[in-house]
Amino acid sequence: MNGKRLSLLFFAAFFTLSLSPSASAIPAFSRRYGTSCTTCHSDFPKLNDFGKAFKDAGFKFPKDDESFLKQPPTLLGAPAQAELWPHTVFPGSIPGQLPVGLRYNTYYQQISANRSNFNQVLPAGTVGNFIPKSDFQPGYFSIFTAGNFGTGISFWVDDDLSVAGANANGSLGDAYLKFHDIGHFLKLPTDSLNLRVGEFELDLPFSQARNLNLSGWDIFSEANVGIQNGLGPAQNVNNGAAMENGANGVEFSGGHAYQGYHYSFAVFDQNTTGVAISPANVGPQNGVAFNSDANFKDMYGRLAYRFNLEKDAASRNEVQAAGTAGPRDHTFLALGTFYFYGRTATPFSGVLADGVTPTSLTAREPFYRIGGDVNFNYRTLNVYGMYMAAHDRNELPVTAPGATGITSFAPSAPVTFSGGFAQADYLALPWAMTIMRWDQVKSSADRINFIQYDPTAPPGSSFFSPYSATRNRFTPGEQFLIHANIKASIEYQIMPQQIVYNPATGSVITGPFRTNALVVGLEFVY
């Protein structure tokens, strides 16, 4: 990966921070139950305790769901047909009206004066990249459909139909079927075993896809890419698997998000390049491309426990706490941990042991991500955060004496990064949320990658770099619900320090400086 590409990636990330794709509230449920968004969301898409229970139950009310329906389901078979099974198709139902919701958002950004510092390395007279001081941006137009099929099977599909105003330029988000409480076939406790199949966001401690911020948490979008540029330890890692990436596979889970234990274990496609391979002479039907990079399947597991801290034992075990002025979210402390294990498979052109015969070699580099999280809620104040460490085995290419190319790989010092975030959400009023947030990513590889000083092969374009291996971002914000389905958000991103190097000499031209951004968003769902 050369400096130009890295620079472009960095800028792309920089200017799309406010456009991190996220699924949102589901207006179809409002229609189905005749209830407000705030029944399930404190500040959409953030779920309150009832929303968590609703989701856990398979997008249903945890008890007596039928009594709340304002749109009766369409039966796909009388319930009594169940007695005839297996001599009939098992009866189910579909939502009485098509459960579709739509979402659109639009943004305005104000970028600080340092936005074009990297152009200083261009020769005089060269036209540089123009970064506007202010900019209005169309966001996402997305479609959501979700619900249940009546017999403990729920579904969710969301897709971004348009991104940045371009038609059909988005992508599929989550798209899965979930089979709830399949453990009852094995006489396991209620809700102790569920199965989810399809494409889904990993069971992260805090959902990146459904976080309420305008910009996603940095640590969840961090990939591990280390190159060999002579400024630091040699690295040969090209792992594009960020925690926020969608997974294709199966997931077993159990417990509840609003009380007690919760676990999940997923097995899914290994894909660290982000490139789907098109079918050649074999492949899935209907011309669908493969998703896997390798035969190996990645694995992700999570275990968490939430302690509801209400004094009243009866209230403690309810979905919502019984407050003196009405039901509310519990005062709780939740602790969790997670572990991701995968393996990159990076092909290289090389030669056989004879040193001359061309061949293909693959660097197979196991990696893991491990972390912990904490979540504390008191009334309308929610403080939460997580920290994780990443570790990739680093297989350096080896060229045998006399060989004309790579002949093998040898392990070297692993490529690591770490980081996390801490955030406080204070619902000052039912329609006003104040947010303070700190993101941190420590990656020596990121810093070195962007310097890429090599006197013998200077990069062909200008670039700038993180000033330090540790990147801190502070993001205060405020959000206002204009209605339960319309939200105005504002956040000020105090960005990590950056620096501009001379690509030819490696000397510092400018820095350190910050390219802070004020981002305003307006979104609605309907």
Partner: protein, 193 residues
């Protein structure tokens, strides 16, 4: 002595008036659905609080019934028939925020009661389900009625006399008209939003 005679005269006159009970009937138009018609308070006259309790249910994320009329001093029991937690509160009574009240939270199958001693319009709300709403119209007299859906109404046993009669409808402006009751009396109202 003169005072005693005067009081006796007034009481006798009032009782004799009460002896001739009439009916107010009519129609509330300009709006659709149920309205409430009630006789405003009569100066110097009080009425005993009803002993019977009225129940308002919370079921399927709705208050049932949506409109309830009660006499001043009536105790209303709020039942939660849903399997989800509910709340009942009202921010004011006829705009008087000092009379706002929050009954808290209670589980399925249980009730909480409140005695409405202050007449006026009570907007019932639930703080976790903002789409839920209902109205209790606390009449200062026992002469009130909830109309049928066409707006037609009849209030029986109103003593003959001169009164102010008020019609209320959700989202419409109240309208109060002077009505002289003498036997079967007609009083129509046209409300607007």
């Amino acid at each position: 002595m003169k005072t005693n005679v005067l009081v006796t005269f007034i009481v006798t006159a009032a009782l004799s008036t009460a002896a001739f009970a009439g009916t107010i009937r009519g129609k509330v138009s300009g709006v659709s659905g149920e309205s409430v018609v009630y006789v405003e308070g009569v100066a110097g006259k009080t009425f005993p609080a009803p002993t019977a309790h009225i129940t308002i249910d919370q079921k399927g994320l709705m208050f049932i019934p949506h409109v309830t009329a009660v006499a001043q001093g009536t105790t209303v029991e709020f039942l939660n028939s849903d399997s989800v937690a509910h709340n009942v509160f009202w921010p004011s009574i006829s705009g008087n925020k000092k009379l706002g009240h929050n009954l808290g939270t209670w589980p399925q199958g249980q009730r909480k009661s409140f005695k409405f001693d202050d007449p006026g319009i009570v907007s019932l709300l639930c703080n976790v389900h903002p789409e839920m709403a209902a109205y209790v119209i606390v009449s200062p007299t026992p002469y009130f009625v909830v109309t049928d859906k066409s707006g037609a109404y009849k209030i029986d046993n109103v003593p003959d006399g001169a009164y102010t009669v008020t019609a209320w409808h959700e989202g419409a402006k109240n309208k109060s008209n002077p009505v002289k009751v003498a036997g079967d009396t007609s009083a129509d109202f046209t409300l607007s939003k």
